[in-house]
């Protein structure tokens, strides 16, 4: 096993539900969450979840992936801005072809497999973003 299962377990809420912390002193959001505000050093933090729609800001396509990620190529790494909180996060896009990607497109969070510690180890799950599902009503 190459991955730290302790780290995956420790970070599961930020991976599964986009858990973050808001600083009650400077009001900035820290994602991934930390115990000390990265912006002002305060420990006066509250837990929040950023599970919300987002707009695509920019992206990069990875064609040569590291071990554990090879089967998921091409991997689309994206910087998105969350619609309500305006927080910018780094994520992956899924359910989209490269020629369908458009700046500013509306996206929604979905839980997906991110990597596998070969055929015998832990499967890592995390939130990725996909184009918002079109609704008929």
């Amino acid at each position: 096993m190459k991955y730290s299962i302790a780290r995956y377990w420790r970070e599961r809420h930020s991976h599964y539900r986009l858990k973050a912390v808001r600083c009650l002193d400077c009001n900035r959001v820290n994602y991934p969450p930390s115990t000390i505000c990265r912006y002002c050093g305060s420990k006066n933090l509250e837990e929040i979840e950023l599970f919300e729609q987002a707009r695509l800001l920019t992206w990069s396509v990875i064609h040569v992936a590291t071990e554990g990620f090879e089967d998921y190529k091409p991997i689309i790494i994206a910087m998105v801005e969350l619609v309500d909180s305006k927080v910018k996060i780094l994520t992956q896009l899924t359910d989209i072809d490269l020629d369908e990607i458009k700046p500013g497109m509306l996206l929604e969070p979905v839980l997906r497999r991110v990597s596998e510690d070969d055929a015998t180890g832990i499967i890592q799950y995390a939130i990725k973003y996909r184009p918002v599902l079109k609704r008929g009503d």
Binding site: T94, D95, K134
Partner: protein, 351 residues
């Protein structure tokens, strides 16, 4: 009063992956006759992407069920996950979904296996748990990335999808369970041994002694228990391993096909195993009107079938638009070829 009548469906949700494999691709690759998929009354099957599995699909169906129920996830006291394609052989899928949806830690959670009817057994368990007062809400999920030996007839229909239901007290329900009945025997029509990647089946033996006998026995058992008859139902939803069996079993039981077609999805997405009949129920609830009565009869090889009588309430109307409908997922599709399907379903041998 039967215990079921105290309980009902509070929220429902479905999920169908984006990708579709036209069955003519399987004809092209494996040299079948073009008539073979026509005999199955199926055109395409839904294929989970490379980053999807029974957990991720079940998560989205459950998320949709939560949106419709509008309840605090912490009030769910049982997460029961029916599948025959667990991502891990040992390590529960139910806990991943429960954690991701904020249901943990005050809950029961387990994966159940009974071929295609484990999720239906979960539904009966959740009815019992809610009716007894042991839990306030139960979350039932049926999700499968169905496996089939490449080139086997089963490959035409083995597909991927998920359905989820939150069971609670009848006073909050969009649809109340009126009665339920289960019929099981030891019938070896379909199985997968340990460490073997694909299931085997008894060809024609999967029909009369398995599918038809068990579903007909379960539905007739429900009729006997309740005094209900086919005319009393507005919809009939059966397990749908292909597009023809549900229509044949309906005819044998006295249901016209018009009552079956609204919940028959296999012609468009294939057989999603534990989600097969349940996604049909999700689609019917998407469209149902208060007062309508639904017959639901899932089936699982091995073998067993459950029959439920479900009556829709006024609350269904306010919750239908709170999450994506089955038809929204049906309309979102990208056609792929056999090569991409083989990659996505991990059936290319790599070292």
């Amino acid at each position: 009063m039967k215990p079921e009548e105290n309980t009902g469906i509070v929220g429902w949700g479905a999920y169908i992956p984006r990708y579709r494999l036209p069955l003519k691709e399987i004809v092209r690759i494996w040299g079948f006759s073009e008539e073979t998929p026509k005999g199955l009354n199926t055109i395409e099957k839904a294929v989970a992407g490379r980053d999807e599995d029974a957990i991720t699909m079940g998560w989205e169906a459950a998320l949709n069920a939560l949106k419709r129920a509008g309840i605090d996830p912490k009030l769910i006291g049982g997460v029961w996950f029916g599948t025959e394609s667990k991502p891990y052989a040992v390590k529960p899928s139910a806990t991943v979904i429960a954690e991701a949806l904020g249901i943990t830690p005050d809950t029961m959670a387990t994966d159940l296996e009974f071929a295609c009817r484990a999720a239906s057994e979960s539904l009966r368990l959740s009815i019992a748990a809610v009716a007894s007062g042991m839990v306030k809400y139960g979350l039932v999920i049926g999700s499968d990335t169905a496996q089939a030996n490449p080139g086997d007839i089963l490959e035409f229909t083995a597909s991927s999808a998920a359905a989820a239901f939150i069971v609670g007290l009848s006073k909050e329900a969009v649809a109340v369970f009126e009665a339920s009945y289960t019929y099981v025997t030891d019938t070896p029509d379909f199985w997968r041994r340990a460490y073997i990647p694909y299931p085997l089946h008894g060809e024609a033996f999967t029909g009369q002694p398995a599918y038809f006998h068990h579903i007909e026995s379960a539905v007739r058992g429900l009729f006997k228990k309740t005094g209900l008859k086919p005319d009393d139902f507005d919809y009939a939803i059966f397990h749908q391993p292909n597009g023809t069996f549900p229509l044949r079993v309906a005819k044998r039981l006295g249901f016209p096909k018009e009552k079956v077609l609204p919940g028959l999805l296999t012609p468009y997405i294939g057989n999603s195993y534990n989600a097969s009949a349940l996604i049909g129920l999700a689609k019917v609830l998407d469209e149902a009107k208060p007062g309508q009565r639904i017959l639901l009869a899932p089936f699982g090889s091995g073998a067993g079938s459950d029959a439920y009588s479900i009556v829709v309430t006024e609350k269904v109307l306010e919750r239908q638009a709170k999450a994506p409908r089955v038809v929204d997922y049906l309309n979102r599709k990208k056609i792929i070829d056999y090569a991409l399907y083989a990659k996505y379903r991990n059936i290319i041998k790599k070292i």
